[in-house]
């Protein structure tokens, strides 16, 4: 650490950090736009970019070409929109948990929230024989109930990050035990159906699962923007944050509610797609390299990872369509591993 002389130096550093933040945001936005275009373009019937724009605008302009419009608006667009929305929701959920609990491993798919949703869904499929929207509702209820249980059990005149993490892994263990038990007891075809749901897929993309998720995000995202302002102070530790006038307990409860909401609605829509929540935050933090911010960038990374993974899943193997959850792990985690390996400078992982 060098001693910084005068306020000029500090201003210069602030300016360069802000510039870096802007640069990363622009790069991520461009990447997302490229991914969106590609996801509308690729397929058995490629649609030229000009046609994509015309199709997207056709409800307004009245310039209709039925065949192309059907492919773009009814087949590819719902899938793309759902990928973006779930990517954003998973990424924000993971980034909030990782920052709030001050542990890069503390994403909802490790501290029990996803396990709760999965266990509820497997119960619906294997025990109750439900499929379709019922499974989604079950998963939503499971995620919320598990989160509530974790918070309630970690409460002892207030909660601490450490206690939430530990209670969370306890809940995760119980829920995975439930899943494993049902897997060994059920018939193989039911297990296959449950496994397909657990992997997560965008195949069922339609307005039926886009609208609830979009509505949830419309409420949760402004709440996130409002609440994360308190998060920077809480990074200093509970006592310091309290001394600076932050209502730690309320901010934390609010953030947990928002993060759980993101994860729960996204899981209900597409299943517990693995590790989007886990990798988005670290990737964004890596690109930012300590330039502050992180939530907007995490959301952009999440959407891109989801969309990119889905394209790989659809087109990587001829004649086979993989579910997106098979690829997110390889795609997202592979990217994170590459980042970790590529950065050899000190202090890059914060």
């Amino acid at each position: 650490m060098t001693v910084l002389a005068g306020s000029d130096g500090i201003h210069a550093i602030r300016r360069s950090l802000a510039a870096r933040r802007r640069r990363v945001t622009v790069i991520l936005l461009v990447a997302l736009l490229v991914a969106i275009t590609a996801s509308l373009y690729f397929g058995d019937y490629p649609v030229a970019p000009a046609d994509i724009v015309r199709s997207l605008l056709s409800p307004v302009t009245g310039d209709v070409n039925k065949g192309v419009d059907f492919i773009v608006l009814s087949v590819r667009l719902p899938r793309t929109v759902l990928a973006i929305l779930t990517g954003i929701a998973f990424a924000l959920s993971g980034a909030i948990f990782q920052t709030l609990l001050r542990n890069p491993l503390a994403s909802p798919d490790i501290i029990g929230i996803s396990h709760g949703a999965s266990a509820a869904a497997v119960v619906c499929i294997v025990v109750l024989g439900i499929s379709g929207i019922g499974v989604s509702l079950g998963a939503l209820a499971g995620a919320l109930a598990t989160a509530l249980a974790i918070y309630g059990l970690a409460w002892r005149g207030g909660v601490t990050a450490y206690r939430i993490v530990l209670v969370g892994i306890g809940m995760a263990a119980i829920m995975s035990a439930v899943i494993s038990y049902l897997f060994t007891r059920a018939r193989l075809n039911e297990v296959q159906e449950a496994l397909a749901w657990l992997v997560g897929s965008l195949n069922a993309a339609s307005l039926n699962n886009i609208i609830p998720l979009a509505a949830a995000l419309a409420v949760l995202t402004p709440a996130t923007i409002y609440l994360v302002r308190g998060l920077d102070v809480m990074q200093l530790g509970d006592d310091a944050a309290m001394a600076l006038g932050n209502r730690v307990e309320w901010t934390r409860l609010g953030l947990i509610l928002v993060a759980v909401g993101h994860a729960a609605f996204a899981t209900a829509a597409v299943g517990p797609v693995a590790f989007v929540a886990f990798v988005s935050g670290p990737i964004a933090r890596f690109l930012l390299a300590g330039a502050g911010g992180g939530f907007l960038q995490s959301a952009l990374v999440g959407a891109t990872v989801m969309l990119g993974s889905d394209m790989v899943a659809q087109h990587a193997l001829p004649a086979t369509q993989l579910p997106v959850g098979v690829v997110t792990g390889i795609f997202g985690a592979g990217f994170l591993l590459w980042l970790l390996a590529a950065s050899s400078r000190e202090g890059r992982v914060a």
Binding site: R156, R163, I174, V191, A274, F278
Partner: protein, 343 residues
């Protein structure tokens, strides 16, 4: 003043030592229970004659020698290995969530087993042992070499991130295979819950040298972990070689967890939680945490196995399920009641 402190510390040490003796007694008791209890109850006296004067024509004697004894010994060793590896990894990475399941070891083992089943059509437990062991070792080598790239070497955060990322990537591979091959899913769903059933002496003979080596190595890391727990800078200023310490601790954890996973399948809960229980009893000193974890874990594992045998007759519930179903509520209660020592 100094003498009061010394008396206090001395008393505490004596209590912890007594606790250790108590744990050894409980482990022994659970071991005996595991030999006697099961679908066919065998009284202790009969077990004793089976051990001292084996009669090949007696069904009871055959059950003791062929089924119960290997199962009990594997349970004891696997339990000790899981507890120790969890404690060592949490100490070396200073992360309460660090565990062999998160650091890529289980996923590596699972990938190799899945490929063994799906591609080479391997179907015996004894062949899984080597596959799982190779997979665990390969995963840890990858995790460690990626994490140690760069000037600062394998920092705890990088280890944890790389491990979790590799786990993510490998589980994707596993689910891809499982989705396309129902036969593999049918085999793997019984392997991946973690179980002590159906293991015979040949499995024990394959894994025990690794387990013994791992236990010795792990118990020797206590002083290094105590140093690391004060922070890297303090450890270094006390003359400790930090990368070497982490390397030795990592090696011990991999050997133990790899061998345990090879013998009994991936059991996540034990290694993750038992060290926290041990820490709640002993305080932050690894010279006590390690032996306590090593003895508490087999009590949990073998106890859960005994319960799993009798809880759902005529079938059995796999030990991986019972440890989580019984252990997790206990663990949560402990987290609530105690002011846990943070890492």
């Amino acid at each position: 003043m100094a003498s009061t402190v010394r008396t206090y510390v001395g008393n505490q040490q004596r209590m912890l030592g007594l606790g250790l003796v108590g744990l050894v007694l409980i482990v022994t008791t659970v071991g005996f229970l595991s030999v006697t209890v099961g679908a066919r109850a065998i009284p202790l006296a009969e077990v004793w004659t089976a051990l001292t004067a084996f009669d090949p024509n007696s069904t009871d004697h055959r059950i003791v020698w062929d089924l119960r004894l290997p199962r009990t010994l594997i349970g004891l060793l696997v339990g000790a290995a899981l507890g120790l590896s969890g404690a060592v990894l949490q100490g070396a990475t200073r992360n309460p969530l660090a565990d062999t399941s998160i650091l890529g070891i289980h996923a590596g083992a699972a990938v190799f087993v899945v490929i063994g089943i799906a591609v080479f059509g391997i179907g015996q437990l004894s062949a899984y042992v080597w596959l799982a062991f190779m997979g665990a070792g390969a995963a840890m080598v990858v995790v460690y070499s990626i994490a140690s790239l760069g000037r600062e070497g394998a920092t705890p955060v990088k280890l944890a991130l790389v491990g979790a990322a590799l786990t993510a990537a490998l589980s994707s591979v596993v689910s891809a295979v499982l989705l396309t091959s129902p036969r593999t899913l049918d085999e793997l769903r019984f392997w991946q819950v973690g179980s002590l059933a159906g293991r015979d002496m040949s499995i024990l003979i394959q894994v025990w040298p690794f387990l013994a080596f791992g236990v010795v190595l792990a118990l020797r890391t206590a002083r290094m972990l105590d140093g690391l727990s004060m922070g890297e800078d303090v450890a270094r200023s006390l003359g400790q070689n930090v990368p070497l310490s982490r390397g030795v601790a990592g090696l011990a954890a991999v050997v133990l967890a790899g061998a345990a996973t090879a013998a009994a399948g991936p059991i996540a809960f034990v290694g993750l939680t038992v060290p926290h229980v041990a820490r709640a009893v002993t305080g932050p000193n690894y010279r006590w945490i390690l032996p306590y974890s090593m003895l508490l874990a087999p009590i949990l594992l073998l106890g859960a196995d005994v319960i799993g045998r009798v809880i759902a007759p005529p079938g059995e519930v796999q030990v991986g399920i019972v440890t989580a179903a019984l252990g997790a509520p206990f663990f949560i209660a402990l987290v609530r009641r105690r002011k846990l020592a943070a890492l």
